[in-house]
């Protein structure tokens, strides 16, 4: 890797304004692929979900998945887009081993949805993001490079291709240029991706899992000198697999571009890869406007012309708009403005909602996701929904606490076990022997030993200083490795000494 000259973001922003563009790819959760009847299940054995069409065998022809069109229209409507009365697919021609036809069936100048917008909130300010288009396309297969040290293509001994993903329906959402105050750019980018995740998750048309690739974001960024109106050369950062990474990628590219521009250099128009571990980007394929995909209308597919009646029917099925939903949830949950803003900012809105739905109280749900889970996510550099624990499990653990079977401290160990794949919360409790001991026999013996071990404290209690019980409770808890029912221990101590 070449050494980059990086300028601290704050300093860079004194001289330059960032201009961003965000592209989000959404994998739809249709049961079959975009142009054939193959199943779309994630994680199947390689090359088991394929057929003549998605393998591009000679002579095979595509047929459009009507459900994918419906999902595309619903996404377009949710993004406040116009829905095309007539549009076509187009072929994007380029050679790549994991793309079976060596063209991607996509949409070019006739997208199904266009001219929309969404409003996202950062630090109490609302920013409007204009949507240029949302179009339909198909995913490619996946290459796996075997051998070598990096898992990348260079240095690999050989490569394998899995075509299960080839032909999975995708919606690509492209923003117009986003120009917001430089110090807000990274947060706005993150908030936008998070907003789109919630919006589309609410439609039920995609799993919107960044960690599984069903939501993928590309960050395009350029800098222009303050006061200038001329756009700079942009880089396109791919492989940005979490909300946090969106923010980091924006910040890194601001630093990197500023470093180049400060030295009088020019930014190369290229694709860059984001690295989660270092928070940096590295050069991928060089790209230029001369890159020629030789688009032309796909002659194997009939044009798509959704009737206005159908579009209106689909509009009527849209869930309430996010702003309305947020206001309703805040009222239902009794959250303060700050609590609500923190919940949204942490990308935890849906997780909290699902946890409450599963039976937890709003405050308990918020406490776990914004406390314990946020801490873990931060440590791992991951998003909350990729921690390996579900809202249902959080609700179950809270129920176990409410039932007195574990306490908050033990709960943390249960979370560890669930995340480590040791089973359900119940199984983890049994496996790790975490249950709170409230049996008077076992507790009584420990209490007796604690009293014997600390006569001073015992005397103070006998003298009416009940606050001294804390020292004895601590001793019992220590002996019981935290698994004692603290409330019962206190009762037993007081019974014995007063």
């Amino acid at each position: 890797m070449t050494t980059e000259t990086l300028v601290p973001v704050d300093e860079a922003l004194t001289r330059y304004d960032p201009v961003m563009g965000l592209e989000i790819h959404i994998e739809l959760n249709t049961t079959t692929k975009m142009f054939c009847g193959c199943p779309t299940e994630f994680g199947a054995e390689p090359n088991t979900q394929v057929c003549p069409v998605c393998l591009a065998l000679p002579g095979a022809l595509p047929v459009v998945n009507a459900k994918a069109i419906e999902s595309a229209i619903r996404i377009g409507l949710a993004l406040n887009c116009e829905i095309a009365e007539w549009c076509r697919f187009a072929r994007k021609n380029y050679f790549y081993p994991d793309m079976p036809k060596n063209f991607q069936t996509s949409q070019y100048d006739e997208p199904i949805a266009f001219d929309g917008h969404v409003d996202v909130e950062v630090d109490g300010e609302t920013y409007r993001i204009d949507i240029e288009r949302a179009h339909m396309e198909e995913d490619t297969g996946k290459s796996l490079h075997v051998g070598g040290s990096t898992g990348r293509i260079h240095g690999a001994d050989f490569s394998l291709v899995d075509y299960n993903r080839a032909g999975i329906p995708l919606i690509e959402i492209v923003t117009r240029t986003i120009e917001v105050p430089g110090d807000k750019a990274a947060a706005v980018a993150r908030a936008y991706v998070s907003y789109v995740r919630d919006l589309i998750g609410g439609l039920g048309v995609s799993d919107v899992r960044m960690d599984q690739g069903s939501l993928r974001a590309d960050v395009n960024l350029s800098l222009k000198p303050k006061g200038s109106t001329t756009l700079g050369t942009r880089s396109e950062t791919k492989n940005v697999n979490s909300f946090r990474s969106v923010e980091r990628a924006v910040r890194y590219e601001i630093s990197r571009h500023a470093g180049i521009l400060d030295q009088g250099g020019s930014v190369l128009q290229e694709t860059r890869h984001f690295h989660e571990d270092t928070g940096t980007t590295s050069s991928g394929r060089e790209k230029s406007d001369a890159d020629d995909y030789r688009y032309f209308p796909e002659p194997d597919l009939a044009p798509v012309s959704p009737s206005r009646e159908w579009v209106e029917e689909l509009r009527a099925t849209l869930p309430e708009p996010p702003a309305v939903r947020r206001a309703r949830l805040q009222a239902d949950w009794g959250f303060s403005d700050l609590e609500m803003r923190d919940t949204i900012g942490a990308g935890a809105l849906q997780l909290v909602a699902d946890t409450i739905e599963a039976g937890a109280t709003p405050q308990a749900a918020r406490k776990w996701w914004l406390g314990e889970m946020a801490r873990r996510a931060n440590e791992q550099g991951a998003d909350l929904d990729s921690l390996g624990i579900t809202p249902l499990q959080v609700a179950e653990i809270q129920a176990l606490i409410d039932a007195g079977r574990i306490n908050d401290k033990l709960a943390r160990s249960v979370f560890d076990g669930v995340i480590a794949g040791e089973g359900t919360p119940e199984e983890v409790i049994v496996g790790r022997q975490l249950e709170v001991v409230s049996d008077d026999g076992a507790l009584g013996d420990a209490v007796d030993r604690a009293i014997a071990g600390d006569p001073d404290a015992a005397q103070k209690i006998r003298d009416g200083k009940q606050a001294a019980a804390g020292a004895l409770i601590g001793a019992v808890m220590k002996e019981m490795r935290g698994q004692a029912d603290a409330g019962r221990v206190r009762e037993l101590i007081l019974e014995k000494l007063t």
């Binding site: 065998l57 095979a60 081993p97 001369a290």
Partner: protein, 503 residues
């Protein structure tokens, strides 16, 4: 005893239905004929004697059991090597697919199998249907049964020659710019390009998706109608397939009556550039139609002068993209680059395509890639699409005045092998009369109308009709066929030279 190979498909079907002959006998007769003459003609790239006889035996036993069968059940058929046939090689006449055996059937293959037609084998063609002479096959040319030093036309020269040489009564062809009709004209057989969308393209290896159409190759108009009806109708696997009742082609072929029919002679498709013997036979045929009560007028299609140029932009553009899938990654021959250690996938793709594709295919991929390039798209592909719209309007206007249009199918009769091989433009010009139907998506039928005086070789006449009016072609074609056979005292192919039979 009747020579079963000389029967038309409908005649053979009738004999099979009456149990006068068995399908095994008929199929064996065709296989014997193939064994006897195909060493010379080279109509077939692959013969499946075992499979064909197994189907025939199955049909015979089902017929014996009294099962209701399709009208063509047991009639052997030859299939152009561009149609996917499960378990049977499908090469498209290209080295790049040498040894590829499809794991699936084209829709038309399924329909043929379901109807119980024994598949004799796969017929030769110009590589990926690119050519008008079948000389561009990677497996050697097919020879014209009328004169074995001449080409049979193309790209479907194999199917046409097989039918003309009595190796099969039925064959399937595909027509992107004339590949069914022009070989039909040059071999004295009947060939039909149906309305675009009339017959499923699923499983036809694509040359140009917006132009390709499969159709029948036969010796009689009625046989063509029977095969057309069998293959046609909506297919949900092909998005461009027409979801509407198919034209009633068989009853039209049986009607065969042109009284009162309005026929338009296409002014631009005749005269200069057309061989004298071709024009003479064409004019006589038109006179016959007039004498039978048709009203003949001349019509003009002004945009026709741009059709050839538009075709040679649309076709290679779509082909350049359609042929991109032949990359040696999933199927087909893989040829690693010479002298490169640890080649990349891209290098293997490039060297395999270099080794696997012939010159004409490469020429068209290059032209198509160029025509679609950013900055050239509007001038080339875009303009060509506008010509298609203009041409479709011209045809629509013409069909307001007349029921069908006529022209010679090909400007010349069959030319000597090699004569145009180094002159692609002169080869492309052979398609001038057939290409417009593909560009406009309308149906066309070619049938033999005699032999040219100067060389004694077959001449074809083409009828054209509006989209979805394929029945008009069969009505007019069958009427003209009957008028001509009455005049000749039998079918024209009876005048074809006997082929030397290998022993």
């Amino acid at each position: 005893m009747t020579d079963l190979t000389r029967l038309s498909a409908s005649e053979l079907a009738a004999k099979l239905a009456r149990k006068e002959v068995s399908s095994v006998e008929a199929t064996q007769a065709q296989l014997d004929r193939i064994a006897a003459v195909d060493g010379d003609i080279h109509a077939f790239l692959h013969v499946d004697a075992e499979g064909a006889l197994a189907t025939a035996a199955d049909i015979d036993s089902r017929r014996a059991a009294g099962e209701g069968l399709h009208g063509l059940a047991g009639v052997p058929i030859a299939v152009k090597d561009i149609v996917a046939t499960k378990g049977m090689p499908t090469t498209c006449g290209s080295k790049i697919l040498d040894g590829w055996i499809p794991p699936y059937d084209a829709t038309i293959t399924q329909r043929i199998k379901a109807a119980g037609l024994p598949i004799l084998g796969k017929t030769n063609m110009d590589e990926f249907a690119m050519g008008s002479s079948t000389e561009h096959s990677a497996y050697g040319p097919t020879r014209n049964p009328w004169d074995r030093d001449r080409i049979p036309g193309g790209s479907g020269g194999g199917s046409a020659a097989a039918v003309a040489a009595f190796e099969a009564a039925l064959a399937i062809g595909t027509d992107t710019g004339g590949s069914i009709r022009q070989p039909g004209a040059l071999t004295g057989t009947v060939g039909v390009k149906p309305t675009y969308g009339g017959i499923s393209r699923y499983g036809l290896v694509a040359l140009a998706s917006s132009l390709d159409q499969a159709g029948p190759v036969t010796r009689t108009v009625l046989d063509a109608a029977l095969l057309h009806e069998l293959m046609g109708g909506h297919d949900p696997m092909d998005s461009t397939s027409i979801d509407a009742p198919a034209p009633l082609v068989v009853s039209a072929a049986r009607r065969a009556d042109v009284k009162g029919l309005k026929i338009g002679i296409v002014k631009e498709l005749g005269g200069e550039g057309f061989q004298a013997g071709v024009s003479a036979r064409f004019n006589e045929a038109v006179e016959l139609l007039t004498s039978a009560g048709a009203q003949v007028v001349e019509v003009s299609l002004p945009s026709l002068e741009y059709a050839l140029a538009a075709y040679y932009l649309v076709m290679p553009s779509e082909a350049s993209s359609n042929l991109a899938r032949f990359d040696a990654m999933r199927y087909g021959v893989r040829v690693p680059p010479a002298g490169v250690d640890d080649p990349s996938a891209e290098q293997v793709m490039a060297s395999s395509r270099d080794a696997g594709f012939g010159d004409e295919v490469k020429r068209r991929i290059i032209v198509g890639t160029y025509a679609l390039s950013s900055g050239y798209y509007d001038a080339y592909y875009g303009s060509a699409q506008k010509v298609r719209t203009l041409l479709a309007r011209d045809f629509a206007a013409a069909f307001e005045q007349v029921d069908v249009l006529v022209s010679p199918t090909s400007p010349t009769t069959a030319w000597p092998l090699g004569a145009k091989l180094d002159d692609p433009l002169s080869m492309y010009l052979q398609d001038v009369a057939t290409i417009p139907a593909n560009l406009a998506g309308i149906p066309g039928l070619s049938l033999p109308v005699g032999l040219a005086d100067e060389d004694g070789l077959p001449v074809g006449l083409q009828f054209l009709a509006p989209q979805q009016a394929d029945d008009r072609l069969y009505n007019a074609g069958a009427a003209l066929e009957k008028l001509l056979e009455d005049k000749w005292g039998g079918p024209m192919l009876a005048q074809a030279p006997d082929l030397e039979v290998a022993r």
